[in-house]
């Protein structure tokens, strides 16, 4: 106790100072918590999404090291007993995979041999089901618990299941524990699956657990037309499906991290700025620098700890909410699986703690060191402080310029996506660091006209922003960065949307599109009927198919089309007329992402496994397509028939010479065949854009979140500033400022900040959009899109900045205006 009290009193002095400003303390914690929460929220969403993918993959593939796959039809079932009985490969499990639906709910039905699951996939896990009925009874299925609850189906209940274009009645013969990643799976015996799919005699694939020498042996022994593929590479390709989302979310997570760090730094440096006089006094009393530093860091630790815990507590439910959004999009567009489970990835929480605690400590360290280094009793007035800020301003500006140049250099041609991200990050931070100097210039320029128009009042507002830069600079920068992200994302999505719209306009040439609602093949009779319809000039026929390949499924688009349809393709590489000739003679054309992922150019050859083994197909052209980020290979129907066998038609494009007559005839056809889905060109285009907008719905929410963080930052900065300037406000009141006028002054100041942030955010946003479009998207997906400088996102961003700054100012200004002036004067 003899030496302790001194240290304790120093701490107490600081702590009480902090505690004395209750609002300040709350804001500091809220600032840290919000930053941490957003990072945790986005990060966990990201982790959960990718984990869900991994688990879906596991649920589908289990421990399998290899798979036996065949041509488009699949694998003949006789291969399985050959493997298992004759060759004694017991770690072999047959699968027949089938997309089905119960009502609106889209599901994947896995036809399995329950006795073969052990050791390979263990699909059914734990649960209760009647194995005898599962195998022996036609139409018996087993559901995971969650799905059973969702469908309100239990043992013995019947479900109407649509599969392969027909509706079947199936019976639930048991439920098993839901496994993460397998929420949209249901199981049936192979026999039932074959019968539901109408694919008696076939399997989708056989999963195997093989030793390397067994694999080599089997590769040689497999019957003609079958292939043994490595499950590892397949797993990887399944993982790539989710990459698009991960990349989007990663970008946002980085952004949130940046804004979060700003926020933490903001609050901490504030808390210390407010205390510089106290620190001066303590130093004058002989408190050592290291001791001051230690105490400040201890405070930061407490604030950081509480803020981090709160942030994690808020972040997890936030992630849950985001996950619902992401999950819906993912299952809608990428993969018929939903992500219901939030997995709390330890790494995300480590990140959160590092940000919350580390960020707070770091943020506290810089100002604490600066404050502690001040010689005792050096004049602690504002001017000295602002002079310091001006010195730092030079440093910050220099650093910003260096980062900007570095980021620009990193944009040099390369295919590395991570480099693109580093560049993006560097450019963002670099530009952000230039915001303060730009603000100073902007306000100086503004002071004169404002002074002319509003007199000293206007000048005060403009100069107030500059004068308060040590407090508002960080908030201003955070606001600008958040808004620029909104602008950048908005421009990117807008440009993307415009490109997709263009592309749809060009590629959707037919007047009507016809398919069955369940995507089942169209019967030859029906196709003939359609060909006879009045008003029709031409038809194109097409079908999508997934070709299992070593490096993952290849989406094949089998088309039979006329020149009119061909003219709709936008070629990015290759000469359309020559490509047309080649296409009809066995060449394929590929989409831009496909060409990007497989490094293909016209003149190259693409290997595909056909019914007759692996064949090489010349690539005649690369065309624009935004419907799949993994890419599509288009092949003429005649080519397909030659190498893969007959191709059923799933959809038809109808070209009219008399659209009105054709439309009428189609109405009649639809009345006769209610299962048909007939969409007009416009209809399909609208639907496509809807899907597009839905895909990016999640980014909207995240943009709003980023903006929210910035508003909280500005709010916290202004509240602190208001406290700081209580005396100044009191003097103004003494001079005869009415409360309203004072409030207007402060709101105006904040509005000027918002104006500045909004203006600076625009070029910053444009740069971000260009980098996203030209670098990130191209390196990640291979999509080319035209940058469109749309006024919408720019205006949105500008208003967002201005409004959030104004909104954030209202409460602090109101509080200050209401304060009794004498109290402000008393505070020395």
């Amino acid at each position: 106790m003899s030496s302790q009290p001194r240290a304790s009193l120093v701490f107490k002095a600081g702590w009480r100072h902090l505690r004395g400003f209750g609002l300040q303390l709350v804001l500091a914690i809220v600032g840290i918590a919000v930053g941490v929460a957003v990072v945790v929220g986005i990060d966990l969403t990201n982790e959960s999404a990718s984990r869900a993918f991994a688990m879906s993959t596991d649920a589908l593939m289990g421990r399998a090291t290899h798979q036996v796959v065949g041509g488009p039809q699949g694998v003949p079932e006789s291969v399985y007993p050959w493997l298992r009985v004759e060759q004694g490969l017991r770690d072999a499990a047959p699968v027949l995979e089938l997309s089905v639906a119960v009502g609106e709910r889209e599901l994947t039905l896995l036809g399995i041999d329950p006795f073969a699951e052990d050791g390979v996939r263990g699909s059914l896990g734990e649960g209760e089901f009647d194995i005898g009925r599962l195998i022996a009874q036609a139409g018996a299925v087993v559901l995971p618990d969650d799905l059973a609850a969702e469908l309100e189906a239990g043992y013995g209940d019947r479900l109407q299941l649509s599969a392969a274009g027909a509706v079947h009645t199936v019976e639930v013969v048991g439920t098993v524990a839901s496994q993460p990643g397998a929420e949209s799976l249901l199981w049936a015996d192979i026999a039932t699956a074959q019968e539901l799919a109408g694919r008696v005699g076939w399997l989708t694939r056989i999963d195997l657990v093989l030793e390397p020498d067994q694999a080599r042996w089997l590769e040689a022994e497999l019957p003609e037309g079958l292939e043994l593929i490595d499950a590892g590479s397949r797993r990887q390709s399944l993982g790539e499906m989710s990459r698009a989302f991960e990349i989007n979310l990663t970008a946002l997570s980085l952004l949130a991290l940046l804004v979060g760090l700003f926020l933490v730094y903001n609050t901490m440096s504030f808390a210390l700025l407010r205390r510089r006089e106290l620190i001066g006094v303590l130093r004058a009393l002989g408190v050592e620098r290291s001791q001051l530093l230690r105490n400040v860091l201890l405070e930061a630790l407490i604030l950081g700890g509480v803020g981090t815990l709160l942030g994690i507590a808020v972040g997890i439910p936030l992630a849950n909410g985001l996950l619902q959004l992401v999950g819906r999009t993912l299952s809608d567009l990428y993969y018929a699986r939903s992500i219901a489970e939030l997995s709390v990835a330890p790494l995300s929480l480590v990140k959160a703690v590092a940000l919350g605690m580390g960020g707070t400590l770091l943020a506290a360290l810089v100002p604490a060191y600066a404050a502690a280094s001040t010689p005792p009793r050096q004049d602690l007035g504002r001017s000295a402080l602002e002079r310091g800020v001006k010195r730092r301003l030079g440093l910050v500006t220099g650093l910003g310029a260096v980062l900007l140049i570095l980021g620009a250099l990193l944009l040099l041609p390369s295919d590395a996506l991570w480099l693109g991200f580093v560049a993006l990050f560097a450019i963002t931070v670099g530009l952000a660091l230039l915001v303060p100097i730009a603000t100073v210039g902007f306000m100086r320029a503004l002071a004169r006209p404002l002074g002319r128009r509003f007199g000293g009042f206007g000048r005060m507002a403009a100069r107030g922003v500059v004068a308060g830069l040590s407090r508002t600079g960080v908030a201003l920068t955070a606001l600008a960065v958040a808004v620029s992200a909104v602008v950048g994302m908005g421009l990117m999505i807008g440009s993307f949307r415009a490109s997709v719209g263009d592309w749809l306009g060009s590629v959707l040439r037919a007047d009507y599109y016809l398919a069955r609602q369940d995507d089942a093949p169209l019967t030859p009779d029906l196709i003939d009927t359609v060909r006879q319809l009045p008003g029709l000039s031409d038809v194109s026929l097409s079908r999508y198919e997934r070709l299992p390949q070593e490096e993952g499924d290849v989406s094949l688009w089998i088309v039979q089309l006329g020149e009119e349809a061909w003219a709709g393709f936008q070629f990015r590489a290759g000469e359309p007329n020559a490509a047309w000739q080649a296409f009809q003679n066995g060449a394929v054309i590929v989409t831009e992402p496909f060409a990007f992922h497989h490094a293909l150019a016209p003149g190259d050859r693409l290997s595909l496994r056909t019914q007759e083994g692996v064949r090489e197909f010349p690539v005649a052209g690369v065309y624009a397509d935004y419907s799949s980020d993994r890419g599509i290979v288009a092949m003429a129907e005649s080519t397909y028939e030659k190498w893969f066998g007959a191709s059923p038609v799933e959809s038809m494009g109808l070209y009219a010479h008399n659209a009105a007559r054709l439309g009428q005839a189609l109405d009649e056809l639809k009345a006769e065949h209610p299962q048909l889905q007939i969409r007009s060109n416009l209809d399909l285009r609208e639907r496509s854009m809807e899907v597009f907008d839905q895909t990016f719905a999640v980014t909207d929410v995240l943009r709003i979140l980023a903006a929210l963080v910035a508003v909280v930052g500005v709010f916290s900065a202004l509240s602190a500033l208001a406290l700081e300037r209580a005396r100044e406000a009191a003097v103004l009141r003494a001079l005869g400022f009415t409360p309203t006028r004072l409030a207007i002054l402060h709101v105006t100041e904040s509005g000027l900040m918002g104006l500045a942030a909004g203006l600076f955010a625009l070029p910053l946003g444009i740069v971000l959009a260009v980098v996203l479009i030209e670098v990130i998207n191209r390196r990640a997906f291979g999509w080319t899109m035209d940058f469109a400088l749309l006024p919408g996102p720019l205006l949105d961003g500008f208003w967002l900045a201005l409004l959030s700054a104004l909104v954030a100012a209202v409460y602090p200004a109101w509080r200050q205006a209401r304060a009794v002036p004498a109290r402000g004067l008393r505070e020395e």
Partner: protein
């Protein structure tokens, strides 16, 4: 302006502050009259309530009970806005800590009360300039407050307090932050200007040196006013 000799009348003023648990009575049913053109010194130890009393006279703080009449107008019967407008036109403040607006230049600080009263343009500029000259700071107009010494800052504050022609000047320890010789100069200036313009000057201080200049000296003791011989 009224013809009444009484400029300021305080009746039954009570004010207490709640510091921690116990309330401290600072002003205790205090009555005080100030005549027009009078230089009144409020004497008292630190914490005797001098500043509080000045703040109440200027309508910067609210009494728990009692009323302040300025030219027989009840200050606390007014709305906040009316009170502010009265302050804007008729009262000038000089503070111990100068309290110039740091973001405005010296000239702009002096212009501020004029601007608040709607006086703009060349005439206002010249008035500000002449007041700056009057306090001996010609040529300092474009400097910012933090570039001036304490005495210079307080002189700017005096110019700012008088520029718009208020009839009542409230000065709270105007020399408290200044060295002895500077303090004397500032005091003389203030006295000189007020007398020349016929202003009523109420000055709170704890230094007895001022007493020689004052018309009347009162002390604050236990929250009450005690007349003190000059």
């Amino acid at each position: 302006m009224t013809d009444s000799a009484l400029h300021l009348r305080l009746r039954g003023i009570a004010k207490s502050y709640r510091a921690s648990a116990r309330a401290a009575n600072v002003l205790h049913r205090l009555d005080l009259d100030v005549r027009r053109g009078e230089f009144l010194v409020l004497l008292g130890r630190s914490g005797s309530g001098k500043s509080t009393l000045l703040n109440l006279m200027g309508g910067l703080d609210y009494p728990d009970a009692g009323e302040v009449y300025i030219d027989e107008r009840a200050l606390f019967a007014m709305s906040e806005r009316e009170r502010t407008l009265l302050r804007r036109r008729e009262i000038g403040f000089v503070f111990q800590a100068f309290n110039l607006v740091p973001t405005l230049s010296v000239r702009e600080n002096v212009l501020l009360p004029l601007e608040l009263n709607g006086e703009l343009g060349p005439e206002a500029e010249s008035r500000a300039a002449s007041w700056l000259a009057a306090v001996g700071l010609e040529g300092y107009g474009e400097a910012f407050p933090d570039e001036l010494s304490g005495g210079e800052q307080q002189r700017v504050a005096i110019a700012r307090a008088l520029v718009h022609g208020p009839s009542l000047i409230l000065a709270d320890e105007p020399t408290g932050n200044l060295d002895l010789s500077t303090a004397q100069k500032v005091l003389d200036l203030l006295d000189d200007l007020c007398r020349r313009e016929g202003k009523t000057l109420v000055m709170a201080t704890h230094s007895r040196e001022v007493m020689g200049l004052a018309d009347r000296v009162v002390s604050l003791e236990d929250g009450r006013v005690v007349e003190t011989a000059v």
